[in-house]
């Protein structure tokens, strides 16, 4: 592949899952995985990971994982831009491992350092009785696949409850993206940046 004539572009993601804010829970760990479209493939790095269990300190009520992310994607098509799906688990009262939150966000488009705070949510039980039994049995409702949260399909049948936040930090490097005609840096393009981009930059603000 001649560098002057690239046919793929690369997206390198460095960063970390800094920590989470789950006021009610402690001793949590998180898992992450990437969801991406057909035209994407990871070239190096880990697609999935699971972090250590972290406890809250007495002073700060934040959970710190500092779990590194390091992955490089190659792609031919920005469609299906990778998303990171984070799911957080931890023990409940009976020490059953239950899910404490799912969340997803797109990897930022623009090169540079980005910090994202993802609101997390968990599926709700379908009924009170279910809730009680699931609590008793330590089998809370879970998504069949955490990647569900990165897709829109089938979400209409679920009910979720928001639960905490996870903060992520990304350092993004792209290669050949501009050469293939995709300009994501706001300053360099002649046309003003699409406002939609800035909208997606901050999918949720407190």
């Amino acid at each position: 592949m001649a560098s002057s004539n690239p046919s793929v572009f690369l997206l390198m993601i460095n960063g970390q899952i800094e920590g989470g804010n789950f006021p009610e829970y402690d001793d949590l760990y998180c898992k992450y995985c990437f969801v991406y479209g057909h035209d994407w493939a990871p070239t190096s790095g880990l697609e999935e990971g699971i972090s250590q269990i972290t406890c809250k300190s007495r002073e700060s009520h934040k959970l710190i994982w500092n779990f590194p992310l390091d992955i490089t994607f190659k792609s031919t098509n920005p469609f299906g831009w990778p998303q990171i799906v984070v799911s957080v688990y931890g023990p409940d009262v009976f020490a059953n491992d239950v899910v404490r939150g799912y969340g997803a966000t797109h990897i930022p488009f623009t090169p540079g350092k980005h910090t994202r705070t993802i609101p997390m949510f968990v599926p709700e039980s379908t009924s009170r009785l279910q809730k009680l039994t699931s609590w008793l049995m330590g089998r809370r409702p879970e998504f069949t696949d955490p990647k569900v949260v990165a897709q829109g399909e089938g979400r209409e049948v679920t009910r979720v409850r928001s639960q905490g936040f996870v903060t992520l930090q990304f350092n993004i490097v792209t290669k050949d993206l501009k050469k293939l005609g995709y300009d994501t840096t706001p300053g360099s393009s002649e046309a003003p940046p699409i406002t939609g981009l800035s909208g997606t930059d901050q999918p949720y603000t407190l």
Partner: protein, 1710 residues
């Protein structure tokens, strides 16, 4: 006058009383009085006095105040006297006062005397308690000074104070004129008359006092004085008012009422009370005529003690009028001595200032502005009328909203300031900028990218509301807000001309018209109006001139005067014109009347009832003349002034021109001189110079003529002339015409013939009116006859309930003569404003006319026909039929008084609405807004105010438009920007391969589903990508006969493809339909049973040694990739593997005898033993089987075991890769791969010595493998079942050359269990997928949510749903099926499929005597129809059940179809048969057929035609869910579900739960099956052709598979085999083996043959090839091998083909 003396007496008396009180006060507390001036001291005093009795204290304190106040007054009076005001009024006041009393004190007392009554009124009912007195004080203090204490009765009207003051002024002027000195006490009657006086006079003077404030502001003394004067005046007002208004009842109230001390209520109450008291006062005055009268009644009512209190009250009143600033040091000096002595002696307590005191004191420092409306006169400069710019048509912005109270406060405050007037505009209101708040924001909305938006600022989404008015229909019609109704009232019509008019009628009409005109003119009385205006204007000019005394006229005033003059001129002209018209009209009326009279005289009859009277009004000649003269003089003077002005202007002009001319002259002269010089000197330049001079001077200006002086006499003459012409002569009586209809009409019989004819004609006529709404006739009036006076009365009201917007309302007038009807005229009635309602609407006269030409031969003058009144026919007239239609259109009022009119805003929809003028959109329509020209036109027409900011945007737009033409396209686009937003043009999108690829991927087209890495660049997408896809598209249309061998099959395949596509499409929709369980994993709520079981388990003793089965973890298919999935096969053991048979040189004859007729190939064992002896010692039969597993072209094999019942117990791991690497459930379900488990016999041949020598190699043994049998398990079954565990029958060819069954027992025929036990070989397998995949069952369930069409009864569907659910709950692993989906995608009840159907006749004929054989044959026939599992073809979507004829047409189907067909055949054969829904190995959920035969139940596998007894251990059917026949479904509710352990007696409700029971009886569902199946005979020739083709293809394939070896074909053997195959077919694969062997005898001697016939149902060529390949016959690698191949296709009815392939390898043994 009496009043004067009254007042004087009263004053005197008052003074006396006052002095007395003073003395008394002094006596009481001399010291206190002496130091009364200081407020502090007052309080101190009070404190001192506090030790005494409260009342005393109060009195004392009040007295102190009174003293203080009195002093102030005194001083003021002094100032007042000393002042020499220029103001007359002031002078007058002064004089008055002096006149009354020289002493100021007396004046004060007068004031008091007048005021005291009020004071009394306030305090009288109170007790002497200090608190009460104080509270009153406070209340009066709290309020603004005097006027405030009498609030106006209504806020909107001007305050009482103002009114009174104005009245006062009026009275004063009156008094002035009457030379009255004593104004204050006027008789009430006089005042009342004054009240009605013209307001003009009072405006002349009203502002004077106010004006004086301004210059005097800085001097407190003068201010005080002025204020005092005002106070005095107010007092007078009071007096006057007191005299004016009271009633007796109020007077009573006044004395009895207990005043509430609350300050807030005080004003209103006082207002109420004021009048009674004053009336009382007045009454007193009038009755007694003396000042005493006022006090006496009061004193009578009061105790003597109260006297001082009253006086205190009087003091209070006084105080109220005073200003705080009046306290002066000078006054204090008066009492200084007493004060000081007291001071020194005094011991003070801590000072406390009471609230009231503080308020009192503060009130001296603070100013509380009044909330009363300030009269406009106060705010304007002198002599100025408020001028309203808005009314003059100038744009005045909207004032910001300020509450009236606040505005009043502000105005009052401003008025107290210096130069207050500069704050007020011409209209007397405070100058304000227009409201700066725009209705729409100009700033673009701010989108917070950062968030942090205040929640209250969050935008809220509201659903777009469809505009109600978008359509022409009225809004809300049909819903509650309801209907609109127009009432059209057609009252009647009057003809102003009609063809049937006689001449007299014409004149009469004209007279009536003139008279109407006259009346209307008189009603409007323009002349009078203009005359008044004229005089008003003149007065104004005169006033202005007088006011300024003709000097020092400011620029503006001059200009205004000029303007006025101009207006006077115009008005005069207008008035003259009007007068002239009046005069002419009058003359005309008289003239026409005279004509009528002449005509009547002439024709000697009277047609019209008109009669004109002229009433004479005599006038006073002298005054009339005077007025006339005055008018003329005024006019003359004006005209003269005008003409003088004109003249002066002209003169100045002339002078100027003259000047110019003179200069020009001079120049010319100079020029001429120059020219002369030049001519003399330089001739050659002459021409040029000439021109030059000419140029310089330009044209010669004409010498101006001096203007003529205006001829003043002529002017006067003209005026007089005009007056004579247009005006009534002085002294001439005023003539008032009166038209009556009182004259008699000559009866018909006295008329001449022509007239009689006319009258008859009139009677024939009748008229009616049609009402057209929006050009549609909605109703018409009754036909009414035309009366002799040409009036028609209809008086009909039409109520139109309307739905459409009113666009036009039309009335058509029709005239009927006999039977012919002609339309006379059409009248458009304006659509009424919504405010015009039925009750209030006035009737309108709408004129109409018709240009119809009508002529008559009688007296009627006709229409559009010239006629003349003159005898000689001159002066011809042509009149058209015309008239007035009186009608009224209005909006109706509903029952509950709600107008049935559209809301006000819709008024613009009306055509003639005035609103349209202002609303651009309404005027030119919304679409017109795009049209700039129209907009501009509209703007020009409506004369928008360019200064109005509301119009700014339009103005700007217009300026843009006028500047540069904006091109507006002349076509209309709904989404004109659509193209802009398009990513690419459509053509480009189609052309681009990349986009096409992307689109196909999104559409989930099979070839591109999950396609990875669509290249970025167009050039990297190769056309190859689409080849497959395009090929498939092409194939969809072209039937490829080559691949399918058979046209029919090809068509079927195509049809199947289509069905599949439609189902897949449906499935794709369903796939995107998610259930909660698809997304969320949730534990089921445990039922009580489960909970109990769990509890029980807890109680269970622990058994650590008991092994427990652990559930394998299920893996969802998503996160899988190639190599992750393994297929795990455990091959455990096999039974009854055929054993090798030694090569026999001769057939065993004995075997024949032992063979039963019905036996299968179990013969020959007796001979075997004999024959085996040669090769193997001990007669031992040997077979060395091994198992080879083929899956996805991976081949693995087990080790070789020995014996016919080998035990391998080996595990084989095969890796599985999904197509396209797509591991989704869908894709896995559509995997068509099968696992082939082949059993081979490993044969080792030791190579003979001779061969060894020949070969010279080291090869001593040759290993051969012989195919024995095969088990095929589709992957989809494994996937669906996730585990297959059991013993399977090995498919074996009926003839295995060289092999035989080891041990077989002789059965006695029939349905023998033993026979079944020994029929074939069996293999025990365990197959599973590692890791366990979540089966795609969910999709099946999902499909239930996808509603399919159905024609079933809702009741049945509900019941079936319930039935299935119930079954599911009780026995979750027993399949239950009640409804299925047919090939059209409709839900069909399952019993409809069962119906006796005839099998092909030839099958029945084959063995008519043996029903059992026939059944077998039929089963075989059914099994010959190729099987095509739905789950494979339709990707596990659902079962599609085709009917039997569809099945036979398609020649492909699932087990269900086979089973249904078989069941139906059996039923038609008179058997008892049921359809079994159950699970079997390896098919999974399947359908079998159950028959009842000879007290035994037989279970038929429809796919292969096998049948099993109920107790057959090898029966593949594992569970039985339900039984179905044509009229019921039974669900198995027994404890067991294995066929062996259940009872099939469906009548036992304990074992079987019927669907249709007594509670829900069978509704008699008609079958979906055809009545009878029609079979067509298969073309034998085609079968033969097919046979040849297959053989050829197979030959080629085998050669292809052996690329490195020559393939030799043994023809002899082939032909033998070919000969044998039809026999095999005929016998059904049995009992031919022996003969066959015999036949092969000759060959067997020379060759070692291994081979077998394959039997397949024919569907396509590919399965045959696969089957042949899987046997591995071609793998023989010996060099001397020869092959034999025979193919036989046997046609069965309806194109069912049985294919038999005989394949053998031959090795020459010697």
């Amino acid at each position: 006058m009496a009043s004067t003396s009254d007042i004087r007496d009263k004053l005197r008396q008052k003074r006396r009383a006052f002095q007395e009180s003073l003395v008394r006060v002094r006596d009481d507390t001399q010291a206190l009085v002496s130091m009364a001036m200081d407020v502090n001291r007052d309080s101190a005093m009070e404190d001192l006095a506090g030790e005494e009795e409260p009342a005393e204290t109060l009195r004392r304190s009040l007295k102190a105040q009174r003293q203080r106040r009195k002093k102030k007054l005194l001083e003021e009076m002094a100032v007042e006297e000393s002042q020499t005001g220029a103001d007359e009024e002031e002078m007058e006041d002064g004089e008055e006062e002096e006149d009354v009393e020289t002493s100021a004190v007396e004046e004060v007392s007068e004031v008091q005397s007048i005021q005291q009554s009020r004071g009394r009124s306030e305090t009288e009912p109170e007790t002497e308690s200090e608190a009460a007195a104080r509270s009153f004080t406070r209340s009066s203090r709290d309020l603004p000074p005097l006027p405030m204490s009498r609030p106006s009765s209504s806020i909107s009207e001007s305050s009482m104070r103002q009114r009174m003051r104005e009245k006062l002024r009026a009275a004063r002027s009156k008094a002035e004129s009457l030379l009255q000195q004593e104004v204050p006490v006027e008789p009430a009657s006089r005042l009342q008359s004054l009240r009605d006086r013209d307001t003009l006079t009072r405006f002349d003077r009203e502002t004077e006092p106010e004006l004086r404030h301004v210059p005097d502001g800085d001097s407190s003394e003068i201010l005080g004085k002025v204020k005092f004067r005002e106070a005095v005046r107010r007092v007078r007002i009071d007096a006057q008012r007191e005299a004016g208004i009271p009633t007796g009842e109020e007077a009573y109230n006044f004395f009895t009422f207990n005043f509430d001390p609350e300050p807030e209520e005080e004003p209103s109450k006082r207002r109420k009370k004021r009048r009674p008291k004053s009336e009382q006062a007045e009454g007193g005055q009038e009755e007694e005529g003396e000042g005493e009268g006022e006090e006496e009644p009061e004193e009578q009512e009061r105790e003597v003690e109260r006297e001082p209190a009253r006086e205190d009250d009087e003091e209070e009143e006084e105080e109220r009028d005073e200003e705080a600033a009046l306290v002066r040091d000078g006054e204090e000096d008066l009492f200084l001595i007493e004060q000081s002595s007291q001071d020194f002696l005094e011991v003070r307590k801590a000072e406390y200032i009471g609230y009231n005191r503080r308020v009192q004191r503060e009130s001296e420092l603070l100013f509380t502005p009044s909330v009363r409306t300030v009269p406009a006169s106060n705010k304007l400069p002198d002599n100025m009328q408020p001028r309203y710019l808005e009314e003059e048509g100038l744009y005045v912005g909207e004032r910001p909203v300020v509450s009236l109270t606040n505005e009043n406060i502000l105005e009052n405050r401003i008025l107290r300031q210096d130069q207050a007037t500069k704050w007020f505009g011409d209209d007397g209101r405070i100058i304000v900028l227009p409201d700066p708040i725009k209705e729409s924001s100009t700033r673009p909305p701010l989108f917070h990218v950062e968030g942090d938006l205040d929640p209250s600022l969050q935008t809220v989404y509201r659903k777009a509301i469809k505009s109600k008015y978008a359509k022409r229909y009225m809004p809300g019609v049909g819903d509650t807000q309801g209907d609109y109704q127009l009432d059209v009232d057609v009252a009647g019509l009057i003809f102003s001309h009609h063809g049937l008019f006689s001449r007299e009628h014409v004149l009469g009409a004209r007279l009536a018209q003139l008279y109407d005109q006259h009346l209307s003119r008189q009603h409007k009385n323009l002349t009078r109006l203009l005359t008044d205006k004229l005089s008003g204007l003149r007065n104004t000019i005169r006033n202005m001139l007088e006011l300024h005394g003709g000097q020092g006229l400011s620029e503006i005033t001059q200009q205004r005067i000029a303007e006025y003059k101009q207006e006077v001129k115009i008005t005069r002209q207008m008035r003259d014109a009007e007068q002239e018209k009046d005069r002419a009209l009058l003359k005309n009326i008289v003239k026409v009347w005279k004509e009528i009279k002449a005509l009547r005289e002439f024709q000697r009859f009277t047609n019209t009832p008109f009669k004109l009277y002229l009433r004479r009004e005599e006038v006073d000649r002298a005054s009339d003349e005077r007025e006339h003269e005055a008018e003329i003089l005024a006019e003359v003077s004006e005209l003269q002034a005008e003409s003088w002005e004109d003249y002066e202007k002209k003169v100045t002009e002339y002078k100027q021109q003259n000047e110019e001319w003179k200069t020009w002259k001079k120049k010319q002269k100079a020029m001429k001189k120059k020219k002369k010089k030049k001519q003399q000197s330089q001739d050659e330049e002459e021409d040029e110079v000439e021109e030059e001079s000419e140029e310089e001077l330009g044209e010669e200006p004409t010498k101006p003529d001096p203007p003529e002086e205006p001829d003043l006499d002529a002017v006067e003459r003209q005026v007089r002339e005009k007056a004579a012409r247009i005006r009534r002569k002085p002294g001439e009586p005023i003539l008032v015409p009166e038209l009556t209809a009182s004259s008699n009409i000559t009866p018909n019989e006295q008329c001449p013939r022509a007239e009689f004819g006319r009258r008859q004609d009139v009677l024939k006529r009748s008229l009616f009116v049609k009402v057209l709404y929006n050009d549609k006739e909605v109703s018409r009036t009754d036909s009414r006859a035309l009366t002799a006076d040409f009036r028609v009365h209809f008086g009909q009201i039409f109520n139109l309930k309307i739905i459409n917007w009113p666009e036009s309302i039309k009335l058509q007038v029709y005239e009927t003569v006999g039977s012919s009807t002609t339309q006379l005229a059409e009248v458009f009635v304006p659509v009424p404003e919504p405010s015009i309602l039925t009750g209030s609407a006035t009737s309108e006269q709408l004129e109409f006319s018709s240009n119809q030409r009508v002529t008559f031969n009688h007296e009627g003058v006709g229409s559009d026909v010239p006629f003349s009144f003159e005898a000689d026919g001159s002066n011809r007239l042509t009149l058209l039929t015309s008239g007035k239609l009186s009608c009224c259109v209005s909006w109706a009022i509903g029952e509950d008084d709600i107008p049935l009119a559209p809301p006000m805003t819709h008024a613009s929809a009306g055509i003639n609405s005035g609103i349209m003028q202002m609303d651009a959109i309404a005027c030119i329509g919304a679409s017109g807004l795009n049209d700039m020209k129209k907009l501009g036109k509209w703007a020009a027409e409506s004369r928008l105010d360019p200064n109005d900011p509301n119009n700014a945007s339009i103005m700007q737009l217009l300026s843009v438009v006028s500047g540069g033409e904006v091109t507006v396209p002349d076509y209309f686009r709904l989404e004109q920007l659509q193209e802009e937003f398009n990513f690419l043009s459509d053509e480009e999108l189609d052309r681009s391969r990349r986009f096409r690829l992307l689109r196909l991927r999104t559409q989930e087209v099979a070839e591109f589903r999950g396609y990875k890495f669509v290249p970025t660049l167009e050039r990297e997408v190769s056309e190859k990508v689409f080849q497959d896809y395009e090929k498939r598209l092409r194939d969809g249309e072209i039937v490829d006969t080559k691949e399918h061998l058979d046209a029919h099959r090809a068509l079927v395949a195509k049809y199947l493809q289509k069905v599949r596509e439609s189902v897949v499409n449906r499935f794709l929709i369903a796939k995107h339909h998610f259930l909660l369980s698809d997304v969320v994993l949730e534990e089921e709520v445990p039922t009580i049973g489960v909970l109990g079981l769990n509890l029980f388990k807890l109680a269970e003793p622990k058994r650590p040694l008991k092994p427990r089965r652990k559930e394998r973890k299920k893996v969802t298919a998503q996160n899988l990739s190639d190599g992750d999935i393994k297929l795990l096969l455990n091959i455990i053991r096999a039974y009854d593997i055929p054993i090798r048979k030694p090569q026999a040189s001769k057939p065993s004859v004995a075997s024949k005898s032992t063979r039963s007729v019905t036996e299968t190939f179990t013969t020959g064992h007796s001979s075997q033993t004999a024959m085996q002896g040669t090769d193997w010692p001990f007669n031992q039969v040997l077979v060395r089987p091994f198992v080879e597993v083929t899956f996805q072209r991976t081949v693995l094999q087990t080790s070789t075991a020995e014996g016919p019942n080998p035990c391998w117990n080996e595990e084989i791991l095969l890796s599985f890769s999904a197509p396209n690497g797509d591991y989704s459930t869908t894709s896995l379900q559509s995997v068509k791969d099968e696992v082939f488990i082949n059993i081979f016999d490993e044969v080792v041949y030791e190579i003979s010595e001779a061969e060894r020598e020949r070969e010279r190699g080291g090869l001593y043994a040759h290993v051969e493998r012989h195919w024995l049998g095969c088990v095929k398990i589709p992957f989809s079954t494994i996937y669906r079942q996730s585990r297959i565990d059991g013993t399977f029958k090995v498919e074996m060819p009926p003839v295995l050359l060289g092999y035989t069954k080891e041990n077989h027992l002789v059965s006695d025929g029939g349905y023998d269990i033993v026979r079944n036990l020994t029929e074939g070989a069996f293999i025990t397998l365990f197959i599973t997928i590692e890791p366990q995949l979540v089966p795609g069952e969910t999709i099946r369930e999902k499909m239930k949510d996808v509603k399919f069409d159905t024609e079933e009864d809702e009741r049945v569907l509900l019941a079936s749903e319930f039935f299935e659910k119930d079954a599911m709950q009780r026995f979750p692993d027993r399949p239950c099926l009640t409804t299925v989906i047919d090939i059209n995608g409709k839900t069909v009840f399952i019993t409809r499929y069962i119906r006796p159907l005839n099998p092909p006749q030839e099958l029945l004929d084959a063995s008519p005597n043996n029903p059992q054989e026939t059944m077998e044959l039929v089963a075989r026939y059914v099994s010959l129809i190729p099987s095509l599992p739905d789950s494979v073809s339709f990707a596990g979507v659902c079962d599609l059940w085709s009917t039997c004829n569809q099945f036979l047409t398609l020649l492909a189907g699932d087990e269900e179809e086979h089973a249904v067909l078989l069941c139906n055949y059996f039923l038609s054969m008179g058997k008892k048969a049921w359809l079994i829904i159950g699970t079997a190995i390896p098919e999974g959920l399947t359908a079998y057929v159950l028959t009842y035969e000879q007290s035994r139940y037989l279970i038929w596998n429809p796919s292969n035609g096998q049948y099993y007894g109920q107790y057959d251990t090898f029966c593949p059917l594992q569970t039985i869910g339900c039984l179905i026949n044509a009229d019921n479904i039974w669900f198995n509710i027994q404890m067991y579900d294995a066929p062996m352990r259940i009872s099939f007696d469906v009548t036992k409700s304990k074992f079987w739960k019927p669907f249709f029971s007594r509670a829900f009886s069978y509704p008699g569902l008609s079958s979906v099956q055809p009545e009878e199946l029609v079979y067509r005979r298969t073309d034998k020739a085609a079968a033969t052709e097919l046979q040849d083709r297959i053989e050829k293809i197979l030959r080629e394939k085998i050669m292809e598979w052996r690329p490195r070896h020559p393939t030799r074909w043994n023809r002899y053997c082939s032909s033998t085999l070919r000969h044998f195959l039809p026999k095999l077919e005929l016998s059904g694969g049995r009992d031919v083996a022996e003969e066959h062997r015999l036949e092969l005898q000759s060959l067997l001697g020379e060759y070692r043959i291994s081979g077998f016939p394959l039997h397949l149902p024919f569907s396509e060529i590919q399965p045959i090839i696969e089957a042949v390949y899987s046997t591995g016959v071609h793998k023989v690698e010996m060099s001397n091998v020869e092959f034999a191949l025979a193919v036989y296709v046997h046609p069965y009815p309806n194109n069912v083909l049985s294919v038999r392939v005989y394949l053998a390898s031959l090795i020459r043994t010697r």
